[in-house]
Amino acid sequence: MSNARAVGGRRHSRNRLARREALTFYLLISPWLVGLLLFVLGPIVASLGFSFTRWDMLTPPVPAGLRNYVRMVDDRLFWQSLSVTVRYTLMYVPSELVGGLLLALLMNQVSAKGIRAIRTIYFMPSVLSGVAFVVVWMWLFHPEAGLINATLARVGISGPRWLVDPNTALTALWIMSLWGLGRTAVIYLAGLRGIPKELYEAAAMDGAGTWHSFRSVTLPMLTPAIFFNLVLSIISTFQSFTSAFVATNGGPLDSTLFYVLYLYRKAFQEFQMGYASALAWVLFLIILVLTLLVVRSGQWWVYYEGEER
């Protein structure tokens, strides 16, 4: 009897604790909820509304039902831009994950002379504003005057025409983007710096070599950063825009027509905001599904030291 009451009391107080914790949670995130309601949800819902209209932005929107969505099926450039974007994402995301990590490992050579300067140099390209960044690369890719082809010519290779050739333009944009890897590397670096030394010491005591301690300590401890970079990389690569906007305008022959570039063109150059909004929502769904898959998969491979088990 008294035993049962004690159990009940404990359960009661556990409930109260859980309720308090939930309350604290909502209290702490309340700024974000306010922002969500004030500045974020409204425009998002509005754009969903526009996607069911024809709207030239100069006159009021006209209801159009599902027309914009149906139209996509026969829109050659919709499929082209989707295919360009998917191909680019498949090239860029893996290279960002691996390349960024390699760069971070270099940046983590604490004992090397001049490491602070080296880190800064690696990060510098990410700091340049988009236009200047792209313009420099347009020069590097210049078929005659560009440094890349000049260097290739010196070793007897006749370089491709890069941004002018539909077969190489997307690859050129990819190479260009690798120059910005320093940004991703910084996130990995922060993760690397956050790994307690004790773990390495313990691994060393177990007789682990460099490679083994990388596999058994570094990699698992970095999975939260890898998870972050993967999710963000998917979200942002699907929305790539600037490099093509400045360097190629989607050409030649639509070979670099990124999805968001096509959407931007529809909205602000072709006065079809309704269609652009529908395009945006299709992209939204694609990214959402992919992200959910990654988030779900996270429980199998992401290791959180501070997670309750």
Binding site: E21, A22, F25, L28, I29, W32, V34, L36, L38, F39, P43, A46, S47, L106, A112, G114, I118, R119, T120, I121, Y122, F123, P125, S126, V127, L128, S129, V131, A132, V135, V136, W137, W139, H142, A150, W179, R183, L189, A190, G191, R193, G194, P196, P224, A225, F228, V231, I235, Q239, Y264, A276, A280, L283, F284, L288, V295, Y304, E305, G306, E308
Partner: protein
């Protein structure tokens, strides 16, 4: 044995600087072009050392447009935004990382989802909203949202909080610390690398932000650096030398901040908190 490790050290150093050179080349070209007259910039074959260097490009690029004013505007926006992110995103991220509540995981996905809709289609409704509030031609639309949490930084902080063992918090809680005290005294000191990252990223992103200032700041005296840089390009011609000169100069502050903020990567968790 010792010789081997010295060779190894030299190899690593060579690799580090080799990669650094790859990252530097485009900057060297920018520097070189910024000192040329426009007609020499696209010469074939390219000439690395401008002869004679045209230093006037820097003076002219930075005086034709009021860049000191643009830098001041950008600095105000950037500093306020950084403060906002550090204040709001840390607290919100802690909640997502540590506190259990019904709906938490759903809200987390909602937060990620708000990053997935391309900006061009929410631009108009956002403008309408800020216009109603009378915020056009003020820095408010650029700054206020920073205090209400930005998903990218919340997510980033959450990931780092999740790697911190719970023991420290539990100990503090037993000592009677409340949640805010735990965040301030336990979590943040241990998340210094992450805070440094948030600072640097915010600095870089705000400094280079283009579309938002473009839409919300219409009066030239409120313009930011990126809007100013855009002025060297017109539809049919671009003043390359000025664009390069001004880009290099306006990039410097971010580079300096990165150089300085590094100590917080180097002296991260391993030196603070944990053992103390």
């Amino acid at each position: 044995m010792q010789g081997g490790s010295r060779v190894r050290r030299w190899l690593i150093l060579a690799l580090l600087w080799g990669v650094a050179l790859l990252f530097l080349i485009p900057f060297l070209w920018m520097l070189s072009s910024s000192l040329k007259p426009n007609y020499q910039i696209f010469e074939v074959p390219p000439r690395w050392i401008p002869n004679p260097p045209r230093w006037e490009n820097y003076v002219e690029a930075l005086t034709i447009l009021p860049f000191p004013l643009y830098i001041r505007n950008t600095a105000i926006i950037t500093l306020l935004t950084i403060a906002g992110h550090l204040l709001s995103c840390t607290v919100i991220a802690y909640a997502f990382a540590r506190l259990r509540a019904p709906g938490r995981d759903f809200l987390f996905v909602v937060m990620l989802a708000t990053m997935m809709l391309p900006y061009p289609v929410t631009m108009v409704p956002l403008y309408v909203l800020f216009n109603r509030l009378g915020w056009i031609n003020t820095f408010l639309p650029l700054v206020v949202p920073a205090y209400l949490g930005i998903p990218f930084y919340i997510f980033l902080m959450r990931q780092f909080f999740l790697t911190i063992p719970r023991d420290f918090e539990d100990a503090a809680r037993i000592d009677g610390a409340n949640t805010l005290q735990i965040i301030g005294r336990i979590m943040l000191p241990m998340a210094m690398p992450a805070l440094a990252t948030v600072t640097i990223f915010t600095f870089q992103a705000t400094w280079n932000d283009f579309l938002a200032p473009l839409i919300y700041l219409q009066r030239p005296e409120l313009y930011t650096v990126t809007l100013g840089l855009q002025f060297f390009r017109s539809t049919y011609t671009t003043n390359w030398a000025y664009l390069m000169a001004a880009s290099l100069v306006t990039t410097l502050p971010v580079i300096v901040v990165f150089f300085a903020a590094q100590r917080y990567f180097i002296e991260g968790i391993t030196l603070t908190g944990v053992k103390g």
